[in-house]
């Protein structure tokens, strides 16, 4: 006698799980313009690659021994491949209890997705939709409970220094999941359908008496531009999946491996003529930093991270002769390219990403300095600067800086690391100093200027004197700073990134500074 009857029951249970929260809830979910958890997994993964686990977990109703109804747990999880590379995915299912609540457990419980990702050393992806706890569960349990979520989020913390972690926010995500959305190396939200907040509008109303919409409270205008809690904005869900696949394509599956080199698609010796005149001679004019990046990295290989936040610094991942690299560039078209608290946060996260996943760092420097002014003081620019400087000096990845324009002050100092594999080239357009000549003259020669019959003329005279000795060639004579033809920059980067591979290979393993999100 075969086990066909049991196999039939297994299939029936799997079918019931696939119905998620039921036809009515699924229809309502679709009507909101959102994909279901299972559609999302399919949208992200290579076709047919989803290998589900914990697929039989849920709450069942029986008539005697007969299963009459079944509601699955509010997540869909399993292993997938992305461009043939394995990863673990967890998708919140909003159609089951609004995506809230967990799977229970106890003795004999199977490992969670996060524990599997940790042990199998695989990238971990969250497709989030739904809240964390709900007071409704108090009634189910007949008691309240202590907020001991760290019993399981501790695994997600451990993941940060072991494997790449990415989150897509695909709905209103509140409570623990809102915080967990930031517990990773990259996150993305979708226009109009995504919000995060520890407590939503009703909670805000109760606490503060404020009437506010979900979108005003925790939508993309807040989180991708002002708070920086979410890195990237996606046009739609498919775009969010593409961005996650793209982000992961630059990274190794775990800290114990090297990032994968992609097929070579661009000439390593490409020397774009436009580089020779990219930097304007007039100091009032600004260069296009995104164009600069395109001239230097492999064609179409730049993936920008957090483009709308801390906009004076462009950060992202790219490829140089097929090798993944991290890259940052001052964007002088926003706040003059200066470093504010937001820009500092971006840079620290990028440095940490490099040291965790063994990426060399390229800095395209046109740094006027830390942002000055009362706003900066209120934001705590000095402590932010101290943290940035610490991150720079404590980093270990191979680092190359190309000074294309200005490099001034302590923020300029943060494009330099005096130890480890570090290289710096300057373009002929480079200009530097511990401070700007114009502002610096007013401060350092104040008495002379004030005592002069024509103070403005005196200041101009001193400035002219100093500008005459500001040529980068004078520095090169004395310090050995190498200056290059801008058109040779890509060639230098290719050489450096090749050389970096040997050093990076010695740094494989758990990062010596744990990744902090």
């Amino acid at each position: 006698m075969s086990w066909q009857r049991e196999v039939d029951e297994l299939n029936r249970r799997l079918e019931m799980a696939k119905a998620m929260g039921g036809a009515e809830n699924v229809a309502r979910h679709h009507a909101r313009g959102k994909l279901t958890a299972r559609e999302r997994v399919d949208g992200l993964a290579d076709p047919g690659s989803f290998d589900e686990f914990l697929g039989l977990v849920g709450s069942a109703t029986y008539d005697g021994a007969e299963l009459t109804a079944f509601t699955p747990k509010p997540t869909v999880e399993g292993m997938i491949t992305l461009d043939g590379r394995k990863a673990v995915v967890v998708a919140g299912d909003f159609t089951v209890r609004g995506g809230s609540g967990g799977m229970g457990g106890g003795m004999g419980r199977e490992p969670r997705a996060s524990e599997r990702a940790l042990e199998w050393r695989l990238p971990f992806i969250r497709l989030q939709d739904g809240a964390g706890g709900s007071v409704r569960s108090f009634e189910e349990f007949g008691r309240t409970y202590l907020p001991d979520g760290n019993a399981y989020t501790q695994y997600e913390v451990q993941l940060l220094s072991k494997v790449p972690v990415a989150s897509a926010v695909l709905g209103s995500v509140a409570g623990i999941p809102a915080v967990v959305a930031c517990l990773g190396h990259f996150n993305v939200m979708v226009k109009e359908i995504s919000q995060i907040f520890p407590g939503g509008p009703p909670v805000v109303k109760a606490a503060l008496g404020i009437d506010i919409t979900k979108e005003e409270l925790g939508g993309d205008q807040i989180h991708t531009r002002i708070s920086g809690c979410v890195d990237n904005l996606a046009e739609d869900e498919a775009d969010a999946f593409t961005q996650i696949r793209r982000f992961l394509s630059y990274l190794p599956p775990s800290v114990d491996e090297m990032p994968p080199r992609a097929p070579i698609t661009d000439d390593p010796d490409r020397a774009d003529e436009a580089l020779l005149s990219l930097m304007p001679r007039n100091p009032r004019q600004s260069h296009n930093a995104r164009k600069l990046i395109e001239h230097l990295v492999d064609k179409n290989s730049f993936f920008e991270i957090a483009p709308l936040y801390g906009r004076a610094r462009i950060t992202g991942l790219a490829r140089i002769d097929g090798y993944p690299v991290a890259l940052m560039a001052n964007n002088s078209r926003f706040n003059g390219g200066s470093t504010d608290v937001a820009e500092g946060n971006k840079v620290m996260r990028l440095i940490s990403l490099c040291d965790t996943f063994h990426l060399p760092l390229i800095s395209l420097c046109d740094e006027p300095g830390f942002m000055v002014g009362p706003n900066s003081e209120r934001m705590g620019i000095e402590r932010a600067g101290a943290r940035l400087l610490t991150a720079v000096c404590s980093s270990r990845m191979p680092w190359i800086t190309v000074v294309v324009g200005r490099v001034f002050g302590v923020a300029g100092q943060c494009h330099h690391r005096p130890s480890g594999m570090y290289r710096r080239y300057a373009w002929p357009s480079a200009t530097w100093g511990s401070m700007h000549i114009s502002g610096g003259v007013a401060a350092a020669y104040r008495r002379e200027i004030e005592a002069a019959p024509d103070p403005a003329a005196k200041q101009a005279e001193i400035e002219a004197r100093l500008n005459a000795i500001a040529s980068p060639f004078r520095t090169a004579e004395a310090t050995g700073q190498d200056i290059i033809d801008p058109r040779h920059t890509r060639r230098k980067l290719v050489q450096f990134v090749h050389d970096a591979q040997r050093i990076l290979a010695t740094q494989v393993g758990v990062p010596w500074i744990p990744y902090t999100p």
Binding site: R284, Q285, S286, S332, F334, N335, G336
Partner: protein, 73 residues
Amino acid sequence: MTDLRVLSEIDARVWKIEVAPGDSVTADMTLLILEAMKTEIPVEAPRAGRVKEIMVKAEDPVSEGQVLLILEV
């Protein structure tokens, strides 16, 4: 033919307008120049097209997200 709104990415002041309504422009051509923090910030055409309407004039203060001009593409 569709209208493409060219927005200001920053808070700034309009310094110079480089095109006139009816002009044909190519991708990356400078349409107008903003000024912020004593720096000129060119606004370039995202695509080739024809200038349909210019919504600002020199010296105007503009804020992030404000429509600067409309291109027919």
